[in-house]
């Protein structure tokens, strides 16, 4: 207690001083505009809307179910449903949002919209250089600005996107299979009905 502690401390800072020149582990700062830390795969910033295909208007996965709008804790999502169904990129008729706005000055990047979305339509972006000069107009993103292709989603979150695609494909396959089965069943039913019609009098299973 006669100055050794101070000397020890001085030695420690001297070590760090020298270390900062040869030990890159010590120097954690990154000179930002020139160098950037590569984005982590799980990183999230603000939501965007995924669309399939090439046309952002057609391919939007969002069907304007408004669950995210309800669940959003700071209420930064604003959706107005379109009144008519439009064909999506596969040609299937869907309701799409007429207006889909996200106020990213309010959004707190919590990812709850992503979790509650049953259609895998809204995902988190990693883009963070969003500063603008107008905090009202430029930070209110509309549907056009929010829509990003599925390829972009694959680029920023490869693992997750692949999983999502697989799940969607599986669901689709299931749905198709179901539709097929339904169709077949329907067809059968119609056939049966037709057959039944054809034979107006219920003929009990012929015992003959």
């Amino acid at each position: 207690m006669l100055g050794e502690g101070i000397i020890k401390g001085m030695v420690e800072t001297a070590k760090n001083f020298v270390g900062s020149y040869h030990d890159p582990k010590r120097l954690t700062t990154v000179e930002y505009p020139e160098n950037k830390i590569p984005a982590k795969e799980n990183a999230r910033n603000f939501p965007f809307l995924v669309f399939d295909g090439v046309d952002a208007d057609k391919g939007l996965r969002c069907v304007a179910c408004q669950i995210c709008e309800k669940e959003c804790p700071p209420k930064c999502i604003y959706i107005i449903k379109d009144t008519v169904k439009k064909p999506d990129y596969m040609g299937k008729m869907q309701i799409q949002p007429k207006i889909f706005d996200i106020d990213i000055s309010v959004c707190m990047s919590c990812q709850i919209c992503v979790e509650v979305c049953p259609f895998e339509a809204i995902k988190m972006d990693t883009q963070f250089e969003l500063s603008t000069t107008d905090r009202f107009e430029n930070l209110l993103l509309n549907k056009r600005e929010l829509a990003k292709p599925n390829e972009y989603y694959h680029k920023i979150h490869p693992t997750e996107a692949t999983e999502v695609d697989e799940r969607l494909a599986a669901e689709k396959a299931k749905a198709e299979a179901k539709a097929k089965a339904d169709a077949e069943a329907k067809a059968k039913a119609t056939v049966a009905a037709a057959a039944a019609k054809a034979a107006p009098t219920p003929v009990p299973a012929p015992a003959k």
Binding site: L2, A14, F17, G19, S20, R26, T29
Partner: protein, 409 residues
């Protein structure tokens, strides 16, 4: 006329570079006799201000870079290559900032305070021997002059703190004055040892007394004697406190009293305070170099070909780097601890050191075999024993201990 002018100028520069005596003579004689004294004075003043002002700029950069590296950061590196123009940018920022004077402030004193601080600080440079043939005034009572002008800076800090009409400023000023007065005493007493041994108040003579080498390599600097080492350390600690540097930056402790007496200053006036503080630090380090580190003398005989002022500046910058290093490491003391330390440790130690220096002086007549070593050890022991004792009592009074901790499962 013009030819002579340039010839004189060239001769002066050549003499400065080669470290020859009286460099100004030829150049000054070019001018008419009536203005010669003024020219001569200007030729002494302008380089001092230029050199130390640029040294100030360099040091702010060095400090920020060094602290950055100590803290594992890069430090400023945006303005110019390696951030070299950062001080310029800082200066421009300071100058273009609005000069805010609080509504209820005492305007005149608020305005005068930075000037009153800066002028004595600059005056202190008048007696420092920067090189073999470079001393603005070789005053008979040089060191006394140094301390006299140093003492008058306290008043300006009080002026700054009081005139701002801010509670934090006033607290800061009171702390600053208490601290500076307390540490002036060990500062002066530790330099008295050197004066006593050298037998002169003139700084030039003090440097002259430190010439020569033991065994051909160990210079005759005061720091290599027991009393000199102790005196140097005491002087260094006291000068840290005098220049309000960490760990004695209590007057400006930002976590307690915002910025102390500087709280209500901005823009150019703040820059002046800043400048004066750094200049004060250089001056007091320069004095430490002169008193204990052999002034402008080279550390080894064969290095004497390097101009003397280079050695002075190198030693000065070495001390400044030490200050920066200390600043980057240590937390700040509390006011009462600071004063306790000054009065209960520094003052007795410096008095003991004075006594030891006297012993050293009288034992110089010893001429038996091993006298040098015996003298050295005797003096060292006479310092070390009170150091340990005083250190223990200082700590013992506050019941400070190494602690062990219990653990529960």
């Amino acid at each position: 006329m013009i030819g002579e002018f340039f010839k004189g100028l060239f001769l002066m520069i050549w003499k400065v570079v080669t470290d020859q005596p009286d460099p100004k003579v030829e150049f000054v004689s070019v001018f008419p006799a009536t203005i010669q004294p003024i020219i001569s004075v200007l030729l002494s003043i302008v380089p001092i201000i230029m050199v130390f002002a640029s040294l100030f700029a360099l040091t702010t950069l060095l400090e920020r870079k060094g602290l950055g590296r100590i803290q594992n950061r890069l430090g400023p590196n945006r303005v110019g290559p390696f951030g070299l123009f950062q001080p310029v940018a800082d200066g421009l920022k300071m100058l273009t900032k609005e000069d805010i004077v609080p509504h209820s402030a005492d305007k005149l004193i608020h305005f005068l305070a930075p000037i009153v601080l800066l002028v004595p600080t600059l005056l202190a440079y008048a007696v420092l021997p920067f090189g073999q043939n470079m001393v603005p005034i070789d005053m008979d009572a040089g060191i006394l002059f140094f301390f006299a002008v140093g003492a008058s800076t306290e008043l300006s800090i009080f002026m700054a703190g009081w005139s701002s009409r801010n509670k934090y400023s006033l607290l800061g000023a009171m702390r600053a004055i208490a601290q500076m007065i307390s540490y002036e005493i060990p500062l002066i007493i530790s330099s008295v040892t050197v004066i006593m041994i050298a037998g002169s108040l003139s700084l030039v003579e003090i440097v002259d007394k430190q010439s020569g080498y033991h065994f051909g390599f160990l210079p005759h600097w005061n720091v290599f004697t027991p009393w000199g080492l102790a005196g140097f350390i005491i002087f260094l600690i006291a000068s840290l406190a005098e220049s309000n540097r960490s760990p004695f930056d209590i007057p400006e402790a930002e976590s307690e009293i915002i910025a102390g007496h500087l709280t209500e200053y901005s823009g150019f006036k703040y820059a002046l305070f800043f400048l004066a503080e750094y200049l004060g630090m250089f001056a007091v380090s320069g004095l430490a170099v002169t008193l204990f580190l052999g002034g402008w003398r080279a550390p080894l005989p064969f290095l004497e070909i390097v101009p003397s002022y280079i050695w002075f500046l190198l030693k000065l910058m070495g001390l400044v780097c030490l200050f920066i290093w200390i600043r980057g490491t240590l937390p700040r003391l509390r006011v009462d601890q600071l004063l306790n330390f000054a009065w209960k440790f520094m003052l007795p130690m410096s008095l003991i050191n004075l006594f030891v220096a006297a012993i050293w002086h009288f034992t110089s007549v010893w001429n038996f075999r091993g006298a040098g070593l015996g003298r050295w050890l005797l003096c060292a022991a006479m310092i070390a024993v009170p150091y340990v004792w005083l250190g223990r009592t200082l700590i013992g009074n506050k019941k400070i201990t190494h602690r062990t901790y219990r653990f529960a499962n």
